[in-house]
Symmetry: C2
Subunit: 166 residues, 2 copies
Amino acid sequence: MAQDARSGGEALLFLTDEQLRKGIEAMFFAYRGFTADPDRILQQYGYGRAHHRAVHFIHRSPGTTVNNLLGILGVTKQSLNRVLRTLIEDGLVESRVGTRDKRERHLFLTEAGIALERELSDAQRKRMRDAYRAVGPDAVAGFRKVLEAMMEPEYRRYFKSLKEGE
Amino acid sequence: MAQDARSGGEALLFLTDEQLRKGIEAMFFAYRGFTADPDRILQQYGYGRAHHRAVHFIHRSPGTTVNNLLGILGVTKQSLNRVLRTLIEDGLVESRVGTRDKRERHLFLTEAGIALERELSDAQRKRMRDAYRAVGPDAVAGFRKVLEAMMEPEYRRYFKSLKEGE
DNA sequence: ATTTTACGTCAGTGTTGTTGACATTCCAAG
DNA sequence: CTTGGAATGTCAACAACACTGACGTAAAAT
């Protein structure tokens, strides 16, 4: 299991256990930075990350159903429901009964919901844009490649199915 | 704020709002993949991510104090204390009163703690190694650059201060 | 001697995950 | 057409883990 740094040439150096450990820690600290700005904003509204995720993916796919969202977010429907309920009560999300299948609820952001989504994603995009600018396009391409390779296959498929601009 | 894709040349394409949004989603899905294996293992022991983080950084810096850990993990002492207490009770972590400063508690992993840490980090390293292998060293270098750029400055300083193999 | 630091603990609260029970709707087999 | 099961979503209760605030102890610093 352990690959010794002494035995690794340049081409393998990035695969030593300690290099990998450093990569793990990089993910940990980076993800915290990545969520820091939205977390601050959400706190002002009394929301948490779960609300952010819901708002984000409803914005990404307006009219999506609760079941769809469940699959993407990877949580139980009960957990998602609590979040959706508060968002609906607060007038950020609208839930419309399906026309073809009345069991389904189609979810849409209201004007207020769109405004919150923009506030959150502006902050998060700014951090990502600054990071991208600091490192250049080649590094960004590598970044995206590694992230995709790290996803669980089912979600990687979903991720790749998203058009770059939809 | 919005940069239109139509106006962006090749060099700027990766900075459009939609490209950035895709990057945000990549982080979300990748981080979940990144934590999936340890989460499964931790569940068998009745632990959570908080325990994982504590065990990881105690292993990284044996003899670290509670206050040190607090700063690295970015949680309150009450929150960390709950986790440490269970780890100590279960015999995974040892807390030794400081010799120079008797107010401090120095934290060490026991044999059992080292075993759990290895089980967790083996799983996580395997995923990262597979991802690295799939994309090659150049992509990995870019990955690391972007992650570093995304960290909060204070943690980036700490991260960079860690030797690659300590 | 007083203040500050390091650590631990108790109590209370909020977000977010879980399971269990239940209502509604759709669909297909009898 | 009716009935039973599957799918969708809601409500209630509980657990994990974060937070704040208050308090106590011991030791170091001033």
